[in-house]
Each structure stands twice: as structure tokens, then as C-alpha cells.
Symmetry: C2
Subunit: 334 residues, 2 copies
Amino acid sequence: MRPTIKDVSAMAQVSTKTVSRVLNKERYVSEETRTRVERAVAELNFRPSAAARTLAGKRSYQIALIYDNHSPHYIHQIQTGVWARCIEEGVRLLAQPSDAASTQLAEEVGGLIDQTQVDGVILSSPVTEAVAALEELERRGIPYVRISPGSEHGRSSSVSMDDVQAADEMTGHLIALGHRRIGFIVGHTNHTASDLRLFGYRRALDRAGIEFEPKYVRQGQFDFASGEAAADRLLDLPQPPTAIFASNDDMAAGVLTVAHRRGLSLPHDLSVAGFDDTALASQLWPPLTTVRQPTRDLAYAAADLLFEGQEDPVHRRLAHELVLRASTAAPRPG
Amino acid sequence: MRPTIKDVSAMAQVSTKTVSRVLNKERYVSEETRTRVERAVAELNFRPSAAARTLAGKRSYQIALIYDNHSPHYIHQIQTGVWARCIEEGVRLLAQPSDAASTQLAEEVGGLIDQTQVDGVILSSPVTEAVAALEELERRGIPYVRISPGSEHGRSSSVSMDDVQAADEMTGHLIALGHRRIGFIVGHTNHTASDLRLFGYRRALDRAGIEFEPKYVRQGQFDFASGEAAADRLLDLPQPPTAIFASNDDMAAGVLTVAHRRGLSLPHDLSVAGFDDTALASQLWPPLTTVRQPTRDLAYAAADLLFEGQEDPVHRRLAHELVLRASTAAPRPG
DNA sequence: AGCTAGTATGACAGCGATGTCAGAACTTCC
DNA sequence: GGAAGTTCTGACATCGCTGTCATACTAGCT
């Protein structure tokens, strides 16, 4: 049988409460008692039952990560980052895929909390914008941290990068290369980052004195197919753009495919830029110029904030980085 | 406060035990009592505490998914598949990344079980081969199902595809196109699937009467960089292969990149085939001919087997599929 | 010596469910 | 009509911990 705290207390000749004290690193345990208990724990290979701890105490030693994102790379990095911080804390991670647009989301989140009594929740974009779910968390007083929220900033702690600035810089890079007709593919409508990136693009154009032309902007959905479709429409224009900036790497991959299909020579006939720097970016041909979004670090920082347990909302902003690869170059003269 | 079973029993005017019976769909509850309890449950929006259930009962309503795989796409599909089946069953999923090669793995798995008392475990390759971890599970009598195990088949239920046959078919496809010098990039040494795919490649060569030449086989590690390195060495041969079959898509992407870098015209100068049919495959240029591995379905089937709870090991084999895209073609004559 | 504050430990109740067992009410069958 | 099921329900112990509270000891001070 699995050893229980009783077995440990018997072996160490102390009360179960004292064993509990040692396990939870409480004050007021003598050095000598502590080592005796620790020896017994090791000897029996004892591990406290999470269920019993949850039931008796105020903590469950579990947190949940709620996400809904169609990019596997992104999710993978989010999971990895959160996970890394959880390990350090000795906390388990419950993975909770969801549908941010679902009307049942709040209900599901409520159920998750009530059943598992998680100590906290991390929400990744775009679940960060599901107000009904946030309310459910608040009603129960569950601390939560959001990764890259697009709105309701005062509501909780969060971590994010500067999407506007990053998109501005990337657009600036294209302008500096000599491009004047720059296509832009907007991201998924649910994600606030989509608007921010579009804004950054416009800001850079403005500053360079290039007129914003709506025909160079196409709606995408953050997936490959929508990138292809948008690229086709942009390249069909009488005066096609000489560069296309897609709001994420998956859509940029779609642009590359369309360009290859049309027999364009890259990057001279068309420069292409992406956003995120997922693994995909360096595996494409030509390797993609993109914005390195510090996804893993954002996730780690989010977990960090959760465990810090600040009373008032804290916002942490992580640095992005332009990654210049071979998919962007000066346009052909003329 | 969160309602408890007591609140429900008070409202429905029955004992807590009877509420418990209804919750667990036990026999011997009158129709009338059942509806009264169900109404109270709905009214109070009651959800039983997982912790209390785990402590008191024999089930925890949680299972764990243990994985260690360096392909985000693969993991994502595995998670999605297992998750889908868990939802149907009303069971939570604990995500447990790990290092299959670590000497501490068994220890970690043991800790996971002892602390969380999960009802079962799903292991994805290559953790499927970590015998010490399997022993830990067996000692505790925890049911587990493995996804694509490479050995120890009698040990547990499992789901898998036919790697040998799939690699054989893909090699056959290249031979049928007219290729005679076919390079092969082996997968990660930890994965048994690597050996199986190599074996399938050799079997197809044998059958076609093509002599197996070790110089056309290079070791890879399932990642992009190792695919690049292997491709470079293959293409540097005095008589380079006219086709390269990589054991997964990531490595095939590396081959494509090397080919582009060398200015080869694809697929005429070089045919490239991959394995897995991850999202990447259709996002590359040219779109990759590959083997569709039914990863999501395998994961779903694994969870299915776990919940079925057969006494004796059951093995389920799912069908693969050759996906012919534009990266393979007949070699240049001569 | 007597008091206070700080340190160290244990007894015991209780968290919210399920398992066991006992008993009541109702059928069925000889 | 009584024995033998079958169906339905509840009392109560219990799972393995932590929270609360009581108590004992030590040191430092008046």
C-alpha cells in the first residue's frame, strides 16, 4: 500500500501534524525533528495525496492553462513555458483546450474551478477576451494571469509584448529596403493582437509619408489557407505590392507558396515577412524574416506572476526582436 | 460558498448517499427521487469536488498523458485526440511532458501516480519504451495504453500504425517513378519507429531487386537541422541519390531547404518524401509527398482503449495513407 | 520568582465525497 | 401466509491530509 502521513509520523515518532509542518515548510519545527521526518519521508518514498491536501487545505497544487489557438507551435511554446515554471513550484498543470467563442465557455470554466479547485488559472489569447469566463473566475476569487490580452487591461495581471511597435518596426524594415507598395494580411478577427499589428503597420507608413491604401490590406485568419487566399488577391492587383507582411508565420507560409506557384523569384520579385518566429519560419524557403515573439518566456512569466500572487494587477512586457532572414530584400528597381 | 452534496441533499430532502447514487448513476434509485435530486443539482449548479471524490472513492476522474516528443505538431495532435475522448468521458487530462531518456523518469511517474491517483495513463512514443516507468505503473496496478510502442508489445494495450508497410509503400512509390538511387534519412535513435521505417525502405528495395547501399542511408534525429545535415552529405556523394526519403516531415523540410540552397529544381532534380503529414508538409514548397500518420485518431483510440478497461492487452492498428503531392516526380532521364 | 514572548509539538475536528451495512417496503413464488 | 428475493433509502465510518487550539518548554526581562 501507498504510505500515508500516518506511516511517516509513526516512523519519525512525531504527530501527523508535525509531518504536515515539515511538508509545508512551516515555521516552528526544530532542526532535529525536521531531519528525522525528512528521513522517514525518503525512506518510505512518501508523497502526500493531492486529493487529501486539496480537501483539507486551502490549496490544490494545481493550476489550469486555458487556451484556444489554432497554431500548434504557439500552444506548444505556451505549454512548455508554463510547465517549466510549474515544475519549479511543484505544481501540476491541467491542460484545458477550449473554444473562446463558445457561449458555454464560462460554464466550462466554472465547472473546471468547482471540480478541481485549482489555485489559479492562466489564460492565453484569445481566451483572454472572454469576459464571461473572467467574471466566473472573479466571482470565485481565483487568481488568474493573462497572456497577451487585448483589452480589459485593468482586470488582471498580464504579460505581453508590444505588438504595435513590433509591426511598426517590421514595416519600417521593408520601407528601409525601398518598398513603397506593402501588402498587409490581418490576423484572426477574434484576436486583439490582429488590430494592434495592423495599427503598427499604419503607423510606420504614416511616419514614412506613404499613403495608406485599403486595397493592400486583406483579412486573414492566422492559418495557412487564408494566407494563400489573401496573397492571391494582393498579387492579382494591377499594381501588386512588392512586399507582403503577414500577421503570423502560418499565413506568411501561404504567401510563399502562392509566390512559388506563380513562379516568382524570391525575395527579388516579392519580399515576405511574418510574425511569431515559430519553428516553421526557419524551415521555409526562403527562410522567413519575422518578428520573434518570446512566447515561451511570456508563458513562463505568466506563471511566475501567478505564483507571486500580487494583490494589484501587474503587467509585464517582454521584448520582441526582428529576425532578418532571406525572405526580404530590396525591390527590383523600377 | 460553493454548494456541497449536503446542500443538494437538503434541498432534495434525501440523504447525501442518495445524491451520490444519482451522481454516479447507480442502480436502485426511484425515478421520482432521481428527478428531484437532479432538479436540486441543476438549481444549485452543484458540481462534486474532484478532491473529495478521489479521497473517498476509487476513482479520481483524471488521467495523465505522458509525452516526450520534439515535434510540436505531433504532440498537439496527440493532445487533441486524447482530449476529445476525455471530454466524452467527463474526465480531466493532466499534461505531463517528460524526458524519456532521463533516469529520473520512473521516479517522476511514480510521484505523479501517488500524488494525483490518476485512473490511467497514456504514454506516447518514445516514453512507451521506458521500461522502468512501465514497471512503476504496473507495480501500482494503474492501467495504461501506449501509442506506437516499439517493443514490449505484450505488456499493455496499445495503438499503432504499420510503420514498416508505410515506409515500404513510400519507397515503392519512388521506385515506380523510376528512381534507383534513393537516399534514406533515419529517425531519432530513441524511437523504435525509426528502425521500422528503415526496415520498410529496405524491404521495398529488396523486392524491386535494387541493392541496398549503406552510403545512401544517413542518421537523423527527427529535427530540421539533422535533415539538412544528412541531405548535404547525401548530395555530396559522387553519385548522389535522385530521391530522398526522410523518416519525418521536419527532416524532409531540411532536405528541401538544402536543395533550394543548392539551386536544384524541385522535384525534377530531386524528389523528396517525408513521413507524418503534419501541417508543415502542405506548407512547404513544393508541397511534400508524405505518409499520413493518423496521429489524432491514434490518440483518440488510445484513450478509448483506456476507458474500455479490457483485462488483457488489446492492440489496435490504424490505417495510414500515402499522400502524393508535388515534391516527388520521375527522375531526369539519364 | 514571576511574567511575557517566542518556539515547538500534539489532540482533534473537519474538508466533501463514497463504501459498507442495515433495514424498510414491495414482489414473487410456492 | 410465510419465505425469499428485489428495490430503494439512510446512518455512519472513512479516505489522508490541514486548520485550530491548547499546551509545554525556553529565554530574557523586570
